[in-house]
Each structure stands twice: as structure tokens, then as C-alpha cells.
């Protein structure tokens, strides 16, 4: 008869089975118990029966929420007709047809197919790995790292299928069992910094699961992990699981830092991109410099090398990002219809001064672990600016020209020895698109308390997840919501990624929401997301480009040494240098990000009503109304990785937070009505300036009537090319009041007419240059007029005034 201790042990094993975390060793142990004990076997069966019944009850509960209650069969014990049966009946006819074909065509081929589908294990050793392959499915790893992948055999490969199943690896700190397709396994002798002598030396085994499941066990216990989990064990301690939390911690830290800079209404960046670029840099960092970078990037403590490897970089960093890059490639290459895919490109680049002796291992690590195609030799010494432009060109190519001029003039000079860059590009359609016809101008409540008009997309969505955080009814209107409550909605993209939007019920509640934002709270909120039958969503269409210099933010986060002059108390990137000397430090960290959110298509999205419910009318669907400042992130739900993160507090505002004081002043100045705009008045009175009114996009060769100071009417032929050059017969300056598409910074005049960014009334200021007019400045004259300032083309109002005055005097 089963006694109490056996029952406890049995319940633990059955609990692991219920939670689908049972290890092969536990299965063997469970089998021993229930084979020898009838009572234990009975408990096992009853336990799993309870589990199965509860799972089925959950399915039935789920079904109850739909209209299927109406199909309750007579005499069926009063239980609702499970939705599952309907789907089974529908599926049955298909399956029968397929099975007939299968029986007619598969005969004789089954064995081949079976062999072809059985994985074999490919083992790729790291540098200095010491291992021994015992059988095709087992090996012993003494030291070093292995990448182990399951690959399919060729048809008819002479391998015994029965032997090819789980892979086991014996290491000094524990036994690893792999079930899946892609893993990194490493074992190292390390020292505990808090101990001395031999006692300090420990063997640590780590397993990074890229795809599949792995179990790490030793005499003290076992742990099982799935994709993106990191398992670690020391010989004298029970194994632990370190969940790779992506870059969430770093993302939130950086978000807070950028908020503190208070440099603009909106914010947008890619923590993933920054993290990748810094992690590559960290590969060559040593000592305290590496320590600081690791802390800022939230490297898990179990991923750090200690002991003999104390001066080395945590090996996990490269491996994790390799894994995520691989995951992203897998997502991008999913063999579905082209229309169901997203575009997700992640590229890393390395440019090194050709005359500088880099450490070969550093270069090889980056080439191998970060998918860098080749390290590009550069002539920074002799031609720094040309190399800067070459790097910028690479970034532009990788981002479909969305990110241009990442490295500003002067950022690369003859002292530059190395540039590491990451570029990420993402493009996807919503699973359910917004109906363009539903997009209407609507008010957006800015954080400052004002209101601006902006194109607002809207629709009823059925394939989304929704969560209401805070006490109260999610179906109530936003006005009735409590001040601290907020709503989350997750809009899926085709291809598997999604955008999560978080907006407070209170129009000024974003700072409060942001103050509660932590890794844990975000995880908790995201876990509350549940599929909703229908959610009414309103979201502004927005598009902007941001630009950050991250040195100060990173220093504030604790990464100070990397920016100091090299030395014992300063930067230590000796891992990059052949000589091992401290010679390098980081000169700058530049980041640009671009985002455009729109309806993506013109097809109408079907609104789904709640059907078939009897009795009381259904409650109104929950709403997510983004007409107030909100926070958003683009993430991979599978791995939890946050690819992009941002906030919108004014969708009409530019988001370049690195505006100079002059630009900021001009921006504020422009937030007045056109009539009061001093520049506008000045231009109107100036000689040699034509103010042309048209509300048709000037796409080329259009004749305008020029009204010079309202006195003289004359004909003026203007030619516009897509490069934004404007030809005219005369006039040093030209101001066109027009309804036009504008780019988010005004700098990309080439895009000005080539792509619709949203039509807004603007004053376009052109300056004659020879026979052409070139745009100098755009002034939006919408309800809240604003100046679109670009670092490349804008000129200060004062300077413009002087030029105009000079022209006036000359006349």
C-alpha cells in the first residue's frame, strides 16, 4: 500500500507530468513506482483523469462564451454541446478524403519517409572544446562549448532510426538530455570570487535552448527548459533555469533614461538593436568595462564566466543573440504564403581600420556568432569621411533607406579604429487591417493638456488580445474609468510578431503608467492579455524618425568606463587588440529609429458582432482609444523579445529628441496660428518672395499664379522634380502655401512627393540656387501650426530674415 511519503513523491511526479515538465529520468522513476504498486497506479490514473476532465471543462467553458449554447442537445445531461464536436465533424470529411489518398499512394514508401524524418545530431565544437562522441546520440563533454543541432537525414541514410532520438551529453556538472533541434551546451571550470584556493574552483555546465527542450540533471536535481531558456548547473548544486528575458530590462531602463531627457513629445527606439551593437562591443571588453556593459544590458549572472575566464566576456551574450537572430531568420523564412509573412531583417556590421592589429579571435567571434558576413577593412586614417558615408550607405541599404546618415559628420575621424553597427528592419501587415475609409481627422489629447487634430484609424477587431488593468469593468466607457486604470491591446501582425499598445483611461495618465513600468510589471500585464471576441480600437496614424546620441543615457545607466580614455581606471577593450593593450575606448553610440503605423491596405476589415446570445443584450465591447498619450512596443510573443519600444504623446509632433535649442525654439515658435507667425508675416512683406496658394500637390510642370505682396500678379512656371528641386523663371525666394505631403523631419524632400505621408497644409520655403529652387524650410500651417525642422535643410528664422532683408535692400 502506498504510504504518505510515496504519495507525496508520486504527487510531485504526477504534477510534473501534468505541467508537461517531466524529465525522462522522472518518467523512469514514475514507471518504477507505479509498476510495483497497484495503489500508486490507481492514483496515477485518477490524477490524470482529473487533469483531463479539468482541461475539458476549460474547453467547455470556452465554448460557453460563444453562441453554441443554443445547440445544447436534448437529454445530454444538461451540458452544453462542446464546440469541439462541431469542428471535428467539419474536419472529418477532409480527413477521410486525405486518408484514402494516403493509403493509395504511401504504400511502400513509409519506411523511407520515416527515415527521412528522423533527426540526426550535428555537433559543431567551439574553439578548444574537448569532447568525445560515444554513440550517434550520446557524447561526453569535458570542457568547452558545442552547438548541437538536429538535422534530417537524407532519404535512405544508413542510420538506424531507432537509435536516433534523444541526445545525451555527460558533463562534469551534470547530464544533459536534448529533445528538439538546436542547442548550445558548454562546460567550464570557473572560480567563485568569494572563495580561495581549490575550493573556489567549480565546474559549471550551461545549456542554451534555441529550439526544442533540454533537461539538465545531476545528483542534486534536474531542470527542464524550452526555447530561449538557459539552464545552468554546478557539480555540487541543483541545476537552475534562467529564462532569457530578452532585452526587456534594458529596454525599460533605456526608455526611462530617454524620457528623462525631456526633449520631445514622442519617443521611439529599438532596444534590441542597441543591445546587439553593445553586446558585440562587449565581446572585446574586459574587466570592469565588461562588467559595466553586462550590468547595463542585464546579462544574467549565470551567463558570466568566472575563474580562469574572469577576464573574458560572458559567452552567453553572443550565443543568445545568435539564437535570437536565428529565431528571427526562421520567422522571416517561414514557408507560408508570401502575403502572410513579415519582413524582419537583422544585420550586423564590422568595419576596422586596415592598418590596425585587431585580435583575430575577437574578429572571428563576431563573424561567427553575430552573422557578420565579413569584417570590412577601412581607411579611417586616410579617408574617414568617405568611410563614414560607406557605413551609412550600408545601414541605409539594410533598412530599405529608412535610416540614412546614422553616423553624423565628424563622428568618424582619423583616430577611429573600429565601427560596429546593427541594423534592423521590420515590415508587416496587420492580421486584420484598419479600414481606410474609417480613418477620420480626430482630436488627440496631448500630454500638455492641448488638443491636436490627427488622422485616427478605427475599427472593430476580433483577432486581438485585450487586458484591463485595474479594478472595474473593461466594458465601461473610458470616461467612467478610474484615473489609474489602463488598457492593453495586442494587435498581431502577419508572420507572428505583434504590437502591444498601452493607454490609460485618464488622458493624462501616461506618466503614472510609466512610473509603474518594470520588467516584472510588464510581464504581469502582458500575461493578462486574453483573446477578446471584439475590441473597438482607435489609433492615430503616425510616422516619425528619431535620432539619439546615447552616450549620456548609457553613462547614467552605469556604463561609464567604456567612454573614458583607455587605462587601468578607464576603458578596457584589450580583448579587441592583438597586443592585449588598453588602447581603445568608445567614441560615440548613435541610434536612429523609424516607425510608420497606418492602415496597411484598403480592404475592409469585417467587424464581428456577438452572435446568438439569448437573454440580456451583450455588454458593449471593450474599447482601446488611442486618442491620448500611449505607450507601445513591437515584440515577438514567442520569445518575449522587445524589438522596438516607444511612446506617443503628440502624433503630429516630430520625435527627434536631439533637437538643438535653436530648433526647439523654432518648434515652439511655430506652435502659433499662421497669422501670428512672425516668419509668415515677414515673408509676406518681403521683396522678392512669392507666396503661392494651391491645394493641389505640385507634381510637376504646374502653372501657379504668384501673388507678390498682394500687389502684383504674374505668371510663373514651376517645375518640380522628384528630387525636390524647383525651377522658376525668377525670384530669389519662393514660398508656396500648399496642401502637401510632408516627411517627418522635412529632410527627405525626395520623399516629399513620392510617398503619401499624410496631407497637411504647409508653407514651403524655397531658395533660388542658380536656375533652380531648393526647399529650405517647411512650415505647417494646420490648426496648430508648426515648423518642420531638419538638421540638413532648415535655416533659422533670424538667418532667413537677414537673407530676405538683404534681398529687399538690394532691390
Amino acid at each position: 500500500m502506498t504510504d504518505g511519503s510515496v504519495t507525496d513523491e508520486l504527487l510531485t511526479l504526477l504534477g510534473a507530468m501534468r505541467d508537461e515538465q517531466i524529465t525522462p529520468e522522472q518518467i523512469a522513476h514514475l514507471e518504477r513506482i507505479i509498476s510495483q504498486d497497484d495503489e500508486a497506479r490507481r492514483i496515477h490514473v485518477r490524477f490524470m483523469l482529473i487533469h483531463g476532465l479539468l482541461e475539458q471543462a476549460a474547453v467547455a467553458m470556452d465554448s460557453d462564451q460563444a453562441a453554441l449554447r443554443l445547440e445544447r442537445p436534448a437529454g445530454a445531461g444538461g451540458r452544453p454541446w462542446p464546440r469541439r464536436l462541431w469542428s471535428m465533424a467539419a474536419a472529418a470529411s477532409v480527413l477521410i478524403a486525405v486518408s484514402v489518398w494516403w493509403m493509395a499512394t504511401r504504400s511502400g514508401k513509409e519506411d523511407d519517409e520515416r527515415i527521412a524524418s528522423v533527426p540526426i545530431w550535428k555537433v559543431t565544437p567551439g574553439v578548444n572544446a574537448r569532447f568525445e562522441r560515444l554513440t550517434p546520440t550520446s557524447l561526453r563533454l569535458q570542457d568547452g562549448e558545442l552547438r548541437i543541432e538536429a538535422v534530417k537525414t537524407d532519404r535512405g541514410a544508413p542510420l538506424a532510426a531507432a537509435e536516433l532520438a534523444l541526445m545525451t551529453i555527460a558533463t562534469p556538472a551534470g547530464k544533459v538530455t536534448l529533445d528538439g533541434s538546436d542547442f548550445l551546451v558548454g562546460t567550464h571550470e570557473s572560480s567563485d570570487p568569494e572563495k580561495h584556493g581549490e575550493a573556489a574552483m567549480k565546474q559549471i555546465t550551461r545549456v542554451l535552448v534555441l529550439a526544442g527542450a533540454a533537461t539538465l540533471m545531476n545528483a542534486h536535481g534536474s531542470v527542464t527548459g524550452e526555447a530561449d531558456n538557459l539552464l545552468a548547473a554546478q557539480a555540487d548544486q541543483a541545476p537552475v533555469k534562467q529564462v532569457v528575458e530578452g532585452n526587456t530590462g534594458f529596454a525599460i531602463d533605456m526608455y526611462r533614461q530617454l524620457l528623462k531627457q525631456k526633449s520631445g513629445p514622442n519617443l521611439f527606439f529599438s532596444p534590441y538593436s542597441i543591445s546587439l551593437a553593445l553586446t558585440m562591443t562587449a565581446e572585446g571588453a574586459r574587466g570592469a568595462t565588461a562588467e559595466q556593459i553586462g550590468k547595463v544590458l542585464h546579462f544574467p549572472s549565470t551567463a558570466r564566466r568566472i575563474g580562469d575566464d574572469a577576464q573574458l566576456i560572458p559567452w552567453r551574450t553572443a550565443l543568445i543573440h545568435t539564437g535570437l537572430a536565428r529565431l528571427n531568420r526562421d520567422l522571416a523564412g517561414t514557408p507560408k504564403k508570401q502575403s502572410d509573412r513579415h519582413e524582419l531583417r537583422i544585420a550586423n556590421g564590422l568595419w576596422g581600420e586596415q592598418s590596425y592589429p585587431f585580435r583575430q579571435q575577437f574578429v572571428e567571434t563576431l563573424k561567427g556568432a553575430y552573422d557578420i558576413g565579413a569584417a570590412q577593412p577601412c581607411d579611417f586614417v586616410g579617408n574617414a569621411d568617405a568611410e563614414r558615408q560607406r557605413i551609412n550607405g550600408w545601414v541605409a541599404d539594410q533598412t530599405s533607406k529608412r535610416i540614412k546618415d546614422l553616423l553624423p559628420p565628424g563622428s568618424v575621424n582619423r583616430g577611429t579604429r573600429l565601427v560596429l553597427a546593427n541594423a534592423i528592419y521590420f515590415k508587416a501587415d496587420w492580421v486584420q487591417k484598419f479600414d481606410k475609409r474609417s480613418t477620420k481627422p480626430a482630436e488627440f489629447f496631448t500630454l500638455a493638456g492641448g488638443r491636436v487634430k490627427t488622422p485616427m484609424m478605427s475599427g472593430a477587431f476580433k483577432q486581438v488580445k485585450f487586458a484591463y488593468i485595474g479594478a472595474g469593468d473593461p466594458h465601461q466607457s473610458l470616461r467612467a474609468g478610474k484615473a489609474d486604470n489602463f488598457r492593453l491591446v495586442e494587435l498581431p501582425y502577419k508572420g507572428g510578431l505583434s504590437m502591444v499598445l498601452m493607454a490609460p483611461d485618464n488622458v493624462r495618465g501616461l506618466p503614472k503608467l510609466e512610473s509603474q513600468l518594470t520588467t516584472d510589471s510588464l510581464a504581469k500585464w502582458l500575461s493578462r492579455l486574453r483573446p477578446a471576441d471584439k475590441v473597438e480600437i482607435a489609433l492615430p496614424r503616425f510616422k516619425f524618425l528619431t535620432e539619439y546620441r546615447l552616450m549620456d543615457a548609457l553613462k547614467q545607466l552605469g556604463m561609464t568606463r567604456a567612454f573614458m580614455p583607455p587605462g587601468p581606471e578607464g576603458a578596457d577593450f584589450s580583448g579587441m587588440v592583438q597586443s592585449g593593450n588598453r588602447e581603445l575606448s568608445i567614441g560615440g553610440v548613435y541610434h536612429k529609429a523609424f516607425v510608420a503605423v497606418n492602415e496597411e491596405g484598403t480592404e475592409a476589415a469585417a467587424a464581428t458582432g456577438v452572435t446568438g446570445l439569448l437573454g440580456a443584450p451583450p455588454p458593449p465591447p471593450p474599447q482601446f482609444v488611442g486618442n491620448r498619450p500611449f505607450l507601445f512596443l513591437i515584440r515577438d510573443p514567442a520569445s518575449g523579445t522587445i524589438l522596438f519600444m516607444g511612446r506617443i504623446t503628440d502624433p503630429t509632433g516630430v520625435a527627434n529628441n536631439d533637437r538643438s535649442e535653436r530648433q526647439e525654439a523654432a518648434f515652439q515658435l511655430a506652435r502659433t496660428t499662421p497669422a501670428k507667425h512672425p516668419l509668415y508675416q515677414h515673408l509676406k512683406d518681403a521683396a522678392g518672395v512669392a507666396i503661392i496658394r494651391t491645394y493641389r500637390p505640385p507634381t510637376g510642370g504646374i502653372e501657379f499664379k504668384a501673388d507678390n505682396r498682394g500687389r502684383t500678379m504674374r505668371q510663373c512656371r514651376i517645375d518640380l522634380s522628384l528630387k525636390g528641386e524647383l525651377k522658376a523663371e525668377s525670384l530669389p525666394w519662393l514660398v508656396i502655401e500648399q496642401e502637401a505631403a510632408i516627411s517627418e523631419t522635412g529632410q527627405a524632400f525626395g520623399d516629399f512627393f513620392s510617398e503619401s505621408y499624410g496631407q497637411v497644409p504647409v508653407l514651403a520655403v524655397y531658395q533660388r540656387q542658380g536656375s533652380q529652387f531648393v526647399v529650405q524650410e517647411l512650415i505647417e500651417i494646420d490648426e496648430v501650426a508648426r515648423l518642420i525642422v531638419s538638421s540638413l535643410y532648415s535655416i533659422p528664422a533670424e538667418r532667413l530674415s537677414k537673407i530676405i532683408d538683404a534681398g529687399k535692400a538690394k532691390r
Binding site: 490524470m48 483523469l49 479539468l54 454541446w81 464536436l85 510581464a523 504581469k524
Partner: protein, 182 residues
């Protein structure tokens, strides 16, 4: 005189009655939920295809469990060593055990009754854990506890349910201290 239900209607009624039990039977042997759900679909497909052979006078459960038993054992054999599983001998024994009719009447009714007797916090935990798509991890997040605490507490709830269902008289179900409940 009321119209006699047709064979299909009778089949549906029987399936609705036995489906949770058949699923639970599969789950007692198959470790993975999605595999179990696939198998349930396959069992339903076989039964539906052979509906003409169904004699309303015969015991539906014997027929359905027989089909399920074959499906499960074939599935496990097919999977071979690719999957975590028990030995074939033990699987056969478990299949017999799981198909054994309950002496206490309808299992689902008994389970519902026993769940009602659980302390409120454990009932709430079960409700959360068995919401569609919920996992131990999501429940742990919601309750601010670790996954291991959730798993252990679920084990306690299961222990009580086992005792209660064995007792037959669900009114005598013991109550668990909620001190360690999440």
C-alpha cells in the same frame, strides 16, 4: 407520440456524455496535451465514420474506449522513442485501468462536487489554471508567486480531489488549510 431520435442524434448525445471521460482516459497515458487532443479528434473521426455500425442498444462507452485504446497504443508505438513515454507493458496496464468503469457513477459529476468542496482559494487557483491558454507561468504572474509554488499548491488541490473522489461521499471531503495557498 414524440418522434424517435435518429441514430446521429443518439450518437451525439452519447459522445457529449463520454467525450470528457475519453479525453481524460487518453490523457492518463499521453504526456502531451496537444497529442491528446489530436487523438481525441481521431477517435471522434473513427466513431463518426463508423456511425452506421453503432447500435444504440450497445454500450457506447465500451465501443468508444476500445477505439481510444487502440488509437492511443498505436500512437505511442508509432512515436517510439522520439517521445517521452512509459514502457509498452505499463501503457497497456494503464489503458485497462483508465477504462475501468467508475463505481461511483459519473466522474465529471463527482469531480464537480469535489471541486465545490475545496477551499475558495484552491477553487480560484484551479479556475485560473484551467482557463483557456492559461499555464502555470501565467497564473504565477497573475498571483505574484513562483511557478513552483503554483505547482505545489495545485498538487495539494489534486490530493484533496483524489481523496474526495475516492471517498465517494463528497460531503465528507476534507478541507485544506489555505495557509500555503497562493
Amino acid at each position: 407520440m414524440p418522434e424517435q431520435p435518429c441514430r446521429q442524434d443518439l450518437f451525439r448525445q452519447q459522445w457529449v456524455r463520454w467525450q470528457p471521460r475519453i479525453y481524460a482516459y487518453i490523457r492518463a497515458i499521453v504526456f502531451n496535451r496537444s497529442d491528446a487532443e489530436d487523438l481525441l479528434q481521431e477517435v471522434a473521426e473513427v466513431l463518426w465514420r463508423k456511425i452506421d455500425a453503432y447500435e444504440p442498444a450497445t454500450q457506447f462507452d465500451h465501443w468508444a474506449f476500445g477505439v481510444a485504446r487502440n488509437k492511443v497504443l498505436n500512437f505511442q508505438k508509432k512515436k517510439g522513442r522520439d517521445r517521452a513515454r512509459f514502457s509498452e507493458t505499463l501503457e497497456e496496464v494503464l489503458a485497462e485501468e483508465a477504462a475501468r468503469p467508475s463505481r461511483k457513477g459519473d466522474l465529471l459529476d463527482a469531480l464537480e462536487s469535489c471541486v465545490d468542496k475545496l477551499p475558495a482559494q484552491l477553487r480560484d487557483l484551479l479556475r485560473r489554471r484551467y482557463e483557456p491558454q492559461a499555464t502555470n507561468r501565467s497564473v504565477a504572474h497573475d498571483l505574484g508567486r513562483s511557478e513552483s509554488v503554483i505547482s505545489r499548491t495545485l498538487n495539494k488541490a489534486y490530493g484533496l480531489l483524489l481523496e474526495c473522489m475516492d471517498a465517494g461521499d463528497s460531503t465528507a471531503a476534507p478541507r485544506l488549510s489555505t495557509e500555503n495557498s497562493p
